[in-house]
Amino acid sequence: MANMLRKIHPIMFVTLVVLISVTLLVFTETLTSAVLEERRQQQIVDELGNIFPEIDNFVYNEEIEVFTLYAGGVTIGYAFLAIGAGYVGDIAIVVGLEDSETVKGIIIISQQETPGIGDRITGGGFISQFAGLSINAVNFKQDGGQIDGITMATISSKAVIDTVRDTAIEKVKQIEGVE
């Protein structure tokens, strides 16, 4: 029995160390994630004017996490954050909709795709294809949509396309539910 105890003691010890470590990290994460959340919100607000140059006011609906955008008192569109899994990590995209059917534009605010390959999703040539498309046309050309993917970066391009389309469809439902 004593022999047995001597054998498992090191395992118990490391397990205990890991438990303490995880507790500490969860605590730190809770502290920092609030700051990150705030910064991300600010980032979206900063990008709104780049998608809708004529914007002069916006209202944020916290419940459905959608910005309603105004110019001269008239609704000119909606914007929201779409997050989807890319090839490496999460891709965060600000999506602007002109109305419940048409995309106004998208801007990628954070991604960790492979430098030189997948990270070309942030390039203007790819991003600009989304402007003016109907939500249902946000797909690869070979899949019935109107977007050319990026050579050698199919997974990253598809991640952006799917994230934008799926989130847009979901948000439109929520927006219509509220109104």
Partner: protein, 212 residues
């Protein structure tokens, strides 16, 4: 107290991690193209080194010998993850430019090296002195390298780190004639090797002179 200052000063001079022990060269080469990076990296390494040295030294009698290395790695990784999270939240630009080299501090051989060679065999007070000395030695080396590289490579020095942290103004200085045609090689990888190699030679030459 004599030993405290001895343990402290050895890290800066006779066992300087970069110039003499040639440890931790990977981050030193990769991120030392700007002073901001050097300061951020140094702060992160000093924090992790101090934290891990204190904990490992305090726990040195209860850590089972065969589980020594895994335990050290877990302790070091904990501190590194804390630093990574804090940098991500409070200095996002620095977090971006340090990139992968911030989480890679986990496998920085300076830190595991000090844990194994010093902290696991010595009392807490000397381990603190050791961590501060080695950490400061690393920081000074990084600052000298980055000053040279940034100045030669861009024709000026600029610090925006404090601006991000405290909303203070940014400090910058440029040499007008030089900044139009800087030696761009120094901000690129070959420049890092050149600068570190020459400084290493200089450091050793001074060391030899002193010995004679």
């Amino acid at each position: 107290m004599a030993s405290f200052s001895k343990e402290f000063s050895k890290g800066i001079t006779i066992s300087n991690p970069i110039f003499i022990l040639a440890l931790g060269l990977c981050p030193a080469l990769a991120i030392s193209y700007s002073l901001d990076n050097a300061l951020g990296m140094s702060a992160a390494v000093i924090f992790v080194l101090l934290g891990s040295n204190i904990i490992i030294s305090a726990a040195r009698r209860i850590v089972p010998n065969i589980m020594r290395i895994p335990t050290f790695i877990v302790i070091i990784a904990t501190f590194v993850t804390i630093v990574t999270l804090v940098f991500q939240a409070y200095v996002p630009n620095l977090y971006q430019s340090l990139g992968i080299f911030l989480p890679l501090i986990v496998v920085n051989c300076i830190i595991l090296g000090r844990a194994e060679a010093f902290a696991s065999k010595n009392p807490v007070i000397s381990s603190i002195a050791d961590a501060l000395g080695i950490g400061l030695g690393f920081a000074l080396a990084l600052i000298v390298i980055s000053l040279l590289r940034e100045f030669l490579g861009t024709g000026g020095i600029s610090i925006s780190l404090f601006e991000q942290l405290f909303n203070a103004g940014s400090l910058s200085f440029t040499l007008p004639a030089f900044s139009e045609h800087p030696l761009a090689i120094f901000v690129l990888s070959p420049g890092a090797f050149l600068v570190i190699g020459l400084l290493m030679a200089l450091f050793r030459w001074i060391g030899q002179k002193k010995n004679d």
